[in-house]
């Protein structure tokens, strides 16, 4: 069971928005994590270092908040491994096919008024909701 946490969610969302704005303003790049991840290995060599820095920053940022506010995020354990592995694979595969994930489409693309990104975001949500329904309420798996 999780708690309703609107204020920290708003504040966290604003930080994510500011990050996306700064990356666009200074580097001219979209803060889309799946694209940044893919390019880390598949973009031209000169276009990789900033990606590594951004991804490293994600890890450091989460670690920083964990230091400042221990126990705010507690890593989940004992979740069914096959769901994680299949889920991760589909997330990576689908994000490449759709050319973006929640950050690229759901934040940056929507903010830019893109119809493609709106369609993608609605599809993520719909497919995610159906999947959770089946996993939790039909199959009785997961958390």
């Amino acid at each position: 069971m999780t708690n309703f946490t609107p204020y920290s969610a708003l504040a966290g969302g604003a930080l994510i928005g500011i990050s996306a704005v700064l990356l666009l303003l200074f580097n001219g790049r979209i803060a889309g994590v799946s694209g940044i991840m893919s390019g880390l290995f598949y973009a031209p060599k000169t276009d990789r270092l900033w990606r590594l820095a951004f991804l490293l920053g994600l890890v450091l940022g989460a670690a920083l908040l964990q230091q400042l506010w221990p126990g705010f995020n507690v890593p989940r354990q004992h979740y069914p491994l096959p769901l994680l592995i299949i889920g991760g694979f589909l997330v990576g595969f689908g994000a490449r096919m759709a050319n973006g994930c929640i950050s690229g489409h759901g934040i940056c693309g929507l903010a830019n008024g893109s119809l493609r990104s709106l369609s993608a975001t609605l599809m993520f949500m719909a497919a995610g909701m159906v999947t959770v329904y089946v996993i939790r309420h039909v199959l009785g798996l997961g958390a």
Partner: protein, 138 residues
């Protein structure tokens, strides 16, 4: 060098934002998607926090001829909703609902020393590698 440092700072802000907004808690994500069960609307507030900031600022930023540290803005030039977009998004959504992780939180979760994050990052890269091998790097 400037671009790399800026990317690091943006990554840190993004990572703190994800951690603060509970996006790093995959059960919170699953509860958000569980509209017929124990629905938790918190994650809507993440978008409510991020979107107004980004919407207002993107408009101003994109009026500039170039970014501050780079020669040009690199945005998607695709305009139309096509089959790969919808099919890819559906596949993504199924994966999201299975594990409760999208790419940002999977990476950031490494900062919590979460074992699940290690598994997720590897699995996401497997999906990316298979897609890029089959269809080429877009």
């Amino acid at each position: 060098m400037k671009q790399t440092l800026l990317a690091l700072i943006c990554g840190v802000l993004f990572g703190v934002g994800l951690a603060l907004s509970q996006m790093l808690n995959p059960n919170e994500v699953l509860d958000f998607l569980d509209i017929s069960g124990r629905w938790d609307a918190s994650l809507i507030f993440v978008m409510l926090g991020a979107l107004p900031v980004a919407m207002l600022a993107f408009k101003g930023v994109l009026k500039r001829p170039t970014p501050l540290f780079a020669g040009q803005f690199q945005l998607s030039t695709k305009q139309w909703v096509d089959k790969p977009l919808l099919l890819g998004s559906a596949i993504f959504g199924v994966g999201w609902g299975l594990g409760g992780y999208c790419p940002g939180p999977a990476v950031a979760g490494l900062g919590l020393l979460s074992q699940e994050s290690v598994i997720m990052v590897l699995a996401i890269y497997a999906g990316i590698a298979v897609y890029n091998r089959w269809f080429g790097q877009p």
